[in-house]
Subunit: 342 residues, 2 copies
DNA sequence: AATCAATTTCAAAGCGCTTTGGATAGCGCA
DNA sequence: TGCGCTATCCAAAGCGCTTTGAAATTGATT
């Protein structure tokens, strides 16, 4: 059933039917009701491509997911992020189109998306220091919103980020307050913007108390479970091992914990852990008592909100770009305790 | 730059340019080369909506992701699955469109997808016993392929599944061979097809050796870490606790392990665990030595392959529907050992 | 030189929608 | 009665592509 047939059935013109369906005022309320009813009965839905052709908009938002070439890994926060974003999209009549791309090849994907008119805007995931995708998107004129920020990029753009620096500063302070001095930082890849900021927060806190930073206690890689495990095993072998670990993700923290327990140590007593918690639905931080002391910020909320911001920006490209900074909560769980006197 | 402009630039008709670009034979190779060059230089890409309107195809595949209303949880295997599928799509010029839907509301989403012509086919995730989505999709005439199967559904359809029954039968046999008799089953939700089959495999193996099945040792829920933890804590309190756990996912197995270690037991010595491993990129089962003894099957491979099957089916709807059954490997890791004599 | 077939190109219709620019009818008012 | 308004509806153009059916060109054949 298409518009033409529907209009013929009703003995009306396509124009009138289209207008009625799209809520324009210049149609008699009685006929509008008649049209709505008929559309309902025939289960009519406008063809999205035809509509898009006519309006010049696709009513779709693109997500370009970078896949690390090293581990062929997709960031596990991703499913929760799009669950949030998807909510916003369906509420606003947008589709979500996804491209998974080996990182490096992204430029062509964005150009395609724009040139072929597949989407009205994109969400940029996994921003890096001086991310070149931002000037690229500005250049090709594709509206975008960034999940995170790109340090070093001047000029306004639409973003939503967690305050990673203050979160990790507070987490470090918390550990310092407990008497820890040998605090390891198990970070994400340090060309990723969030990892840089977290490191910054850690360094700030350490410097503020004049605690020396030992480069051997800082690791940085893709945030897998195995990475947490291997790094921890390694550091615990040191002559002067860390008494606390500051970890960039729950999954990595699980690996840290595995290493700790394998070494016969007890988490929260012998060794403390603080991790960042994105509140992933399948990996809740315990039930009522949190397993890990954590800096917490829901990535699903971020998805929901950032999608709203992008839609706003798409609908009104001339308005100044919005941005938002979520503050992470510091949740105290069972994984931290005062440093053990030797 | 659109077709018309490109054709004018070249002094040719739209027809010829279109044909040249789409590889039709009735165009002089010299002019084709000229056209290809010009298209390249002007960075021309056909508008996808116009093309879709003209051809009646959208060159997009839909994924409808059910989100559990209970935990607002998206299955964590999902990101790896689409990473695999996405590879196939980009190789074949398809887009991927995603809808995250609270389960229950899916029928309307499928109808929309079909009526609005957003996609040429869909991948059906998380099939259940007697899944009504299959007759629905047949009814509305939207080509589909199922990740998994739907027990109880008669009639052919396109699917790809892991042999869950044989995998869990072998895993159970393996534990029985080690002398375990009190084997707990920590399963996914048992209206999910895969969970039914896994339970079937477990029961088969137990019955084949006339080992009684204790219903108190069988749990079934969404496969979170916390679920694994809570179930295990609970069962270890029994007067006659299990000596082995058969677990439906790595994440849940992490929870099982947490409970075991918290109880002061050693995994692989005091208590054994076998889990299913979907080979998620961020949650590899150890580096060289597997952490868990596991039934292993890559969900990313499944995504890659199922997408191919669906595209084949979309291109030739009259061909008989394909199906494929992956056999899981049984990987022996450090989480299993002979039962401890008390 | 005339004919025919194969090769190469083109004009125009059509895909299903929105939207512009009228047309028509009904109304109050002078 | 006739005018100007408003309310309501419509015909047709246009979005950017593919594809049908026909025309023009070429080369070979007689």
């Amino acid at each position: 059933m298409n518009l033409k047939q529907l209009a013929q059935n009703l003995g009306l013109s396509q124009t009138t039917v289209s207008r009625a369906l799209n809520g324009y005022p210049e149609v008699n309320e009685a006929t509008r009701a008649r049209i709505l009813l008929a559309a309902e009965q025939h289960n009519y839905r406008p063809n999205i491509r035809a509509k898009g052709l006519a309006t010049g908009r696709s009513m779709a938002i693109g997500h370009v997911i970078p896949m690390s070439t090293k581990h062929e890994m997709v960031n596990p926060i991703f499913s929760d992020f799009i669950a949030g974003a998807g909510e916003t999209y369906s509420r606003n009549g947008y589709d979500m189109v996804l491209s998974v791309v080996e990182d490096g090849n992204e430029a062509q994907v964005y150009r395609n998306l724009k040139a072929r008119g597949s989407v009205d805007g994109v969400i940029l995931h996994g921003p890096r220091m001086d991310d070149m995708r931002i000037p690229l998107l500005n250049d090709i004129g594709l509206p975008f919103a960034v999940h995170g920020r790109a340090s070093g990029h001047k000029g306004p753009y639409c973003w939503l980020d967690v305050n990673n620096r203050s979160a990790f500063r507070r987490a470090t302070d918390f550990l310092l307050d407990l008497g820890h001095r040998r605090i390891a930082l198990i970070n994400g890849l340090e060309f990723m913007d969030f990892a840089i900021r977290r490191r910054g927060g850690y360094e700030d806190a350490m410097a503020a108390r004049a605690v020396p930073i030992d480069p051997r206690l800082m690791r940085s890689d893709e945030m897998t479970e195995v990475f947490g495990y291997v790094s921890t095993v390694d550091m615990l072998r040191e002559t002067n091992p860390p008494t606390a670990f500051l970890v960039a993700s729950m999954i990595t923290a699980l690996g840290v914990r595995r290493a700790i327990e394998e070494a016969g140590l007890v988490m929260g007593r012998d060794v403390s852990i603080v991790t960042h918690d994105d509140v992933l639905s399948y990996l809740r931080n315990g039930d009522d008592v949190p397993i890990f002391t954590a800096t917490r910020s829901s990535v699903r909320d971020a998805g929901r909100r950032l999608a709203e911001m992008l839609i706003g920006h798409v609908n009104d490209p001339d308005s100044p770009p919005q941005s938002e900074l979520f503050e992470a909560e510091l949740i105290v769980g069972g994984s931290t305790g005062p440093v053990r006197r030797v």
